[in-house]
């Protein structure tokens, strides 16, 4: 077994795998929602250790990948303005817009900076009252509390030169959209542990009920993921659909309530377009009226933008679990992390990047699966 020896706790991993093999009687398709989980799965070869009946479908849970092209193009237009200091998480810099990316804006003289926390952008606005500081506020429910606090803090400090380009996305509506798609194959979900650390698990019960689908809240380490899969398979085989928390050390049912309170104060739910997927109703957050003056889209009139995706890129299908990255004809050829055609090859949480980084060049069907 190529991979199992590399587990820190190979005996526990072996036991979990054995249990999965013992209960499984037929094929099942399980989606890991979060890109962090996708990377852990590919890096640790979990997909190749599992019995062949289990297909892991990689979900859309990479905020960098699903930020719509139109917003990226707006970011590029705002970042290119001479009065603007544009702050972003590092992952966003190489994400291709229609004609350019933030790195190119930076190298042609734009003031583009990478920050570790949105509060760094607020501090910059405080230090540089002569500059318009814009923060690129993307992410799922895990990142949103940080971005919400940055807005609260900018207000508290009376800053008039701070704003945020907001493009937040939410997990539960994405699960609904996947389940309602006529092409859906997903039979169980591993829900993203850290999203649930913030939001709790109460939003998932109704989804389990509505779609009759097991949802197991799962962490990111190899053993967490194996345990999540074991519980999902056990439910599927027993014909049960329940919400289970396999990550109790970091997730409580009620979540982080102070964070939820600030989110509620700053954001309201809105329809949101997901790159490669399309519009998902009520799947995003935008600033509430009270904080609209911090909205970079309103502050900088960037006009109408015509977007253009690479005609070769199939990331929409990758994000919906319809295509494995190494089944994309451009994978590893025209498209590599150095010359990415799509966001899923750029982001450290993107499925294409995971496949490339860990050498999955052979289309999945041709792999001799380790047993």
């Amino acid at each position: 077994m190529k991979y199992l020896d590399e587990f820190r706790n190979p005996e526990v991993a072996a036991r979990l795998l054995e249990e999965i093999r013992r209960v499984i009687t037929r094929p099942w398709a399980i989606m890991e929602v979060c890109g962090g989980q996708t990377h852990s799965i590919i890096r640790n070869g979990i997909d190749q250790l599992l019995p062949p009946e289990i297909e892991l479908i990689h979900g859309p849970g990479c905020p960098v990948c699903v930020t719509p092209l139109e917003i990226i193009d707006k970011a590029l237009a705002i970042a290119a303005r001479p009065e603007v200091t544009f702050c972003s998480f590092g992952d966003m810099l190489r994400v291709p817009g229609s004609n350019s990316d933030l790195f190119q804006v930076k190298s042609s003289g734009g003031d583009v900076r990478i920050v570790y926390s949105p509060l760094d952008a607020v501090r910059l606005a405080q230090q540089r009252p002569d500059r318009e500081v814009v923060f690129f506020g993307i992410g799922f429910e895990t990142t949103a509390p940080a971005n919400a606090m940055a807005v609260v803090q900018a207000e508290r400090l009376g800053l008039t030169n701070f704003s945020m380009l907001v493009s937040h996305v939410l997990v539960p509506p994405a699960i609904s959209a996947i389940m309602e798609s006529p092409r859906n194959r997903v039979q169980a979900f591993l829900a993203a542990g850290h999203v649930c650390s913030v939001m709790g698990t109460w939003q998932y019960g109704p989804l389990v009920e509505r779609y009759g689908v097991p949802i197991v809240v799962t962490g990111f380490e190899p053993l967490d993921i194996l345990e999540g899969i074991r519980r999902a398979v056990t439910q599927l085989e027993a014909g049960r659909a329940e919400l289970e928390n396999a990550y109790p050390r970091a997730v409580r049912p009620e979540g982080n309530q102070p964070a939820q309170a600030v989110l509620e104060q700053v954001f309201e739910v809105t329809d949101r377009t997901w790159r490669g997927i399309g519009m998902i109703p009520q799947s995003g957050w935008r600033l509430r009226e009270r904080y609209r003056r911090f909205d970079a889209e309103a502050r900088f009139e960037v006009g109408h933008i015509n977007t253009a995706e690479s005609p070769l890129c199939r990331s929409g299908e990758v994000l919906q679990g319809l295509l494995k990255p190494n089944q994309c004809p451009a994978f590893g050829k025209q498209c590599t992390p150095r010359t990415p055609l799509g966001a899923t090859m750029v982001s450290s949480e993107g499925a294409c990047a995971a496949y490339y980084q860990y050498g999955r060049f052979i289309p999945a069907g041709d792999v001799e699966v380790a047993r």
Partner: protein, 88 residues
């Protein structure tokens, strides 16, 4: 941007009205906002995401997780990446 390594709170302070802390990730210390964990104390473990502590962990699970990340080489990778991102 999302892996979430546990760290230990080693100092707490007030910066411009925000509860901030220093969090030690196995030797690498970072400034972290603690506003969302109002009860967390020095010595407690937390998972940090984009500079914000989002959830508290008990010591044993935190240590197990850290050891695992360490072994897999993921700790260095993640923190280095953060550093490069922060300074690039």
């Amino acid at each position: 941007m999302c892996l979430g390594i546990p760290g230990r709170v080693i100092a707490i302070s007030d910066v411009d009205g925000v509860r901030m802390g220093k969090v030690d990730f196995d030797g690498i210390v970072k400034d972290v906002c603690l506003s969302y964990l109002p009860d967390i104390q020095v010595g407690d473990y937390t998972i940090v995401h984009v500079g914000f502590a989002i959830t508290q962990l008990d010591e044993q699970s935190a240590k197990e997780t850290l050891a695992l990340f360490h072994e897999l080489g993921m700790l260095e990778e993640e923190l280095r990446q953060d550093d490069e991102e922060a300074t690039a």
